[in-house]
């Protein structure tokens, strides 16, 4: 099935880079580097130049912190979405929000995708996606409340739980009127999960791909990488790319990333190893 993200369509075998653009003063990785709107636009310029097909704009960091209400969240992202839309008509604009109210405002400003990192916490978000013809990312959080950390969460089978919840969310979205070709599922590494859960989801990602829904993975510099290698934020790129390669081999379609160029290389390489993409230019031994 062709993937349709708002006004943009992608072939069945296309892999997509979704570059993270934070409109926050306190996100874990960039620590406010793009809090200033002009710096955020420069970040968009950079990731577009690096080949990102999607930008994922977020106004609230995932971790606990100062409460950000919907008005403050909108003030951080809505006008910015409009500026990016005007500057890059061909770019897919995703907004990382769980709130329907924010979703509506960003769709009016030109967003193509609502990336609901908190797994349907606001039941009306699907209606907004349906109304605007937007794409929807359906994540698994194990029922976690937005902006909370996991505490002694356990699953009988984390992969079965992730598949069950994301597919149910996807079906609820379609029932609400979201186009089936615009729905993406995401196991949501680290969200409602300990490191063992995220490693198992990575190892068994092929089971999510086998559902037939396009799979998005958000691995970039996360704690499961840091804990696995005992490395702080800032030193997690090789581990992130290793997890990326495993997910690419399994068939993940969208990669939510901080480092676009490096991830693109890894995904292309793994996709070619899997036999889904020809080499860019092969002549060795074939002259």
């Amino acid at each position: 099935m062709t993937l349709r993200l708002g006004r943009h369509e992608f072939a069945d075998d296309a892999t997509l880079m979704m570059a993270i653009v934070n409109r926050t003063p306190d996100s874990f990785y960039d620590r406010g580097a793009t809090w200033d709107e002009e710096r955020a636009l420069e970040r968009v310029d950079l990731v577009v130049a690096e080949g990102a097909e999607i930008v994922d704009i977020g106004g609230i960091k995932a971790a606990p912190g100062v409460r950000i209400g919907p008005e403050e969240e909108k003030s951080r992202v809505v006008d910015f979405v409009g500026r990016v839309r005007a500057a890059y008509p061909g770019l897919v604009i995703s907004v990382d929000t769980w709130r329907a109210e924010v979703g509506r405002a960003v769709c009016e400003a030109g967003a193509d995708v609502l990336n609901d990192a908190w797994g349907g916490a606001d039941p009306e978000l699907v209606d907004v996606a349906a109304e605007f013809g937007a794409g929807l990312v359906c994540t698994h959080t194990g029922g976690a409340t937005p902006r909370t950390r996991p505490y002694r969460v356990e699953y009988d089978d984390v992969v079965a739980a992730a598949i069950g919840d994301t597919v149910a969310y996807a079906e609820r979205a379609v029932a609400a009127g979201v186009a089936p070709e615009s729905v993406v599922i995401d196991p949501a590494h680290d969200f409602g999960k300990n490191t063992f859960h995220s490693l198992e989801l990575t190892r068994r990602l092929g089971e999510m791909v086998a559902t037939g829904w396009p799979v998005l993975v958000s691995l970039s510099n996360k704690d499961f990488v840091g804990e696995t290698l005992d490395l702080p934020v800032g030193e997690r790129l090789p581990g992130t790319l290793a997890a990326t390669a495993v997910c690419a081999l399994a068939g993940a379609r969208i990669y939510r990333v901080h480092e676009v160029a490096e991830t693109r290389q890894v995904v292309d390489m793994a996709w070619s190893i899997a036999g889904r993409r020809p080499p860019r230019r092969a002549i060795r031994g074939l002259q």
Binding site: P278, R281, A282, I283, G285, L286, Q287
Partner: protein, 164 residues
């Protein structure tokens, strides 16, 4: 009128070795132009690998004339440069220069008398080309492509003969 075309046995021409960016786009275009000039009924002169290249080029072209035709798959030395598959052999340049001149000029008696041992040492695929020399009265060649982009000497050449 008999028609004959020479193409190299470049495996990169095969669809199973296709890249996103075609590394032999210019060569491929020349091959397809020349092969498209052949008649519908084509005799292939090639080794086993070359026959696959010929089969693919023939399948990729539309040929309607009834001229008896030959498609020859062969090439010069693969030892023309330090980066060439067979590394540099100083004799390759002279060998290819002679062979190229004879092919262009239609001097097939000299092609037939090629030093096969030297050809083998230079990694030149010439046996089918020597076989072509048995076709009588081939004309002067029309060169569609001549080059060695990867250290292997390629030619795409057409010949015609007045004898049916």
């Amino acid at each position: 009128m008999t028609r004959a075309v020479l193409v190299p046995g470049t495996l990169a021409l095969l669809p199973e070795y296709a890249s996103i960016e075609d590394p032999v786009a210019e060569l491929r275009a020349a091959c397809l132009r020349a092969v498209g000039w052949l008649g519908a009924d084509v005799t292939v002169l090639a080794d086993q690998q070359g026959a696959r290249v010929a089969e693919h080029l023939l399948a990729s072209s539309t040929r309607t004339s009834d001229e008896p035709s030959y498609l020859v798959v062969g090439n010069g030395s693969a030892r023309r440069t330090e980066k060439a598959p067979g590394h540099l052999d100083a004799r390759a340049s002279g060998f290819d220069s002679d062979l190229g001149r004879w092919l262009r000029d239609g001097r097939f008696d000299e092609v037939a008398a090629l030093d096969r041992r030297l050809a083998q040492e230079l990694w030149a695929g010439v046996d089918p080309i020597i076989e072509l020399a048995g076709v009588p009265d081939l004309s002067v060649g029309q060169v569609d492509y001549e080059g060695d982009p990867f250290g292997v000497q390629y030619w795409v050449i057409r010949w015609a003969s007045q004898i049916p």
